[in-house]
Symmetry: C2
Subunit: 358 residues, 2 copies
Amino acid sequence: MARVVVDAMGGDNAPTAVVRGAVEAIREYGTEVLLVGSRPRLEEELRRFGGQPSGLELVPAEEVISPAEPPVAAVRQKKDSSLVVGLKLVKEGRGEAFVSAGSTGALLAGSLFLLGRIEGIDRPALGTIFPTGRGQGYLLLDAGANTTVRPENLLQYALMGSLYAQYALGIDHPKVGLLNVGTEKNKGTELHRTAYQLLAKSGLNFVGNVEARDLPEGKVDVIVSDGFVGNVVLKLTEGTMLSLFSLLREEMNRTWRDRLGAFLLLPAFRRLKKRIDYAEYGGAPFLGVDGLVIKCHGSSDHRAIKNGIKVAQELVRAGMIQRIKQGISELEVGEEIDQNKTGGDSRGRGRFARKSLN
Amino acid sequence: MARVVVDAMGGDNAPTAVVRGAVEAIREYGTEVLLVGSRPRLEEELRRFGGQPSGLELVPAEEVISPAEPPVAAVRQKKDSSLVVGLKLVKEGRGEAFVSAGSTGALLAGSLFLLGRIEGIDRPALGTIFPTGRGQGYLLLDAGANTTVRPENLLQYALMGSLYAQYALGIDHPKVGLLNVGTEKNKGTELHRTAYQLLAKSGLNFVGNVEARDLPEGKVDVIVSDGFVGNVVLKLTEGTMLSLFSLLREEMNRTWRDRLGAFLLLPAFRRLKKRIDYAEYGGAPFLGVDGLVIKCHGSSDHRAIKNGIKVAQELVRAGMIQRIKQGISELEVGEEIDQNKTGGDSRGRGRFARKSLN
């Protein structure tokens, strides 16, 4: 049974939605939850959802970090915040994963400070799952943790994304693509051309460059990109869908005929919404830190929180951190073999990446 | 009356759609068109659309450049291609603008070779107009001409985009934004932070950083970005919309109730499609070359071609090239004043940009 630490005070709908999501996750998935936040507030919320279930432990934390605060300073100063207290529980081994819908910046900074990086991963990445027509969506890394990256960072993203798709999403031999402006291998900037070469010899199921147009179709399971472009993809997908639905709503409300049609299509729209709803996908893993961290959307409702906890539990069961550590060491072994051929010595962690850059 | 040169052989539906679009533009807008392509093919097409109208001149060119060809080599070697012959007509002053739905790469390369850059513009940019819920869409530069840029390139894009929005789209004081991963002025990479400062003191109606989420709402009239990110925005918008419509089509066809609702909503969907249809927006201007060049989408139908010709005509009437030349010189004057304050000498073209980079 996984023990998941949940930031009860993070997100627009905290603590109500978080408490409800946690209680439902305990009931449905049998998760053990350490719920971190203001004790009186949490006790009050718990009374609304049938009292404190077994499997739920309250951990008091009286401060809250808001998304408006400068992340690094907030994490340093607010030692009694639900975010910092929660991450410490994971660091100390009292919990096996951390779930928060709070400030992304503070969660990234706090995770780096308190949990540290996995050796061999230079830059952790925020993964996000996007809905697709076919299949179960695609995983994008990096959705915004690092705006500027080097080619070997993209290789590490591909490795982590591939393992996540395999063990958390259950996809065999996940297809990995490099987000680019064309499919030919010389497309894009120097970053992309070098990353392409690293990916091609990585042993991952690399299918080449992928254009943004082909992402919503589900052409790949994992797409890697620097965090600037990844963040643009995240926000533009959201904005385009919202805008299209808003236009559709306008157009479906002009005549009696429109309104009747819209009424008849209510179930179809509900099904569509479910297919593309972010809440159905359980949060965004922060991959590469030495601990399991799941970021839920700031506007998460109880279902999104529940799904985030479910994903955390699956990651615990899959031993994701250990898988990444092993994957990274195997990437290095691959490079060692190459080096041995030319008589070089490549002992030492993380050297794979640095050498490949020259 | 504007004299517009049209590449009859470019695009997936050439020459049929191009010839029809040209004939309709002549009839509707009174444009004079120089139609460049294989004479027998064009004469055959013209017979289908009521013969050769007055205002239309055929200019023979027997070669065609396909999008699969390496652009630079194609432009150098195929001197009798419709693209090269057409651009030469503009260079020689026989036509005032060039419209093509052919290879983007070849059009960019050919425009640079044959027309050259406007002095003071280091990198020409491909502009594209995107549909928005409110207003008449937003103009993105650069949609893919240059994947790597410097801050002063983004400033030049902003100037050209602003002038285009003003004179071709009729927007007074167009709002200009910098595409970024957050709205705070220190967001993004070094490129964005420096560009932000240049834009803030440019005298343009700069509204700051804009997140991709807010683009489809029409928060700004002009958004500037490097061509890598811009190209991702272009293709992701297209892919997301297509994917959503395809999902919607599936969901609206499951039960008799769905199908009846979908039938009733046909007029609403048609109106929606019209609002977001690229064909209603007339092509993408290639701004910064010393001549008017409009790129239409490769899959353009006759309406898209007709609209591209209409936009070209508006650009001719507005004297767009002259406006850009004047705008660039005024940006330089602005910098000269700053320089004079500190006793510096800033004569010389294009120096504004270079100095600002240090």
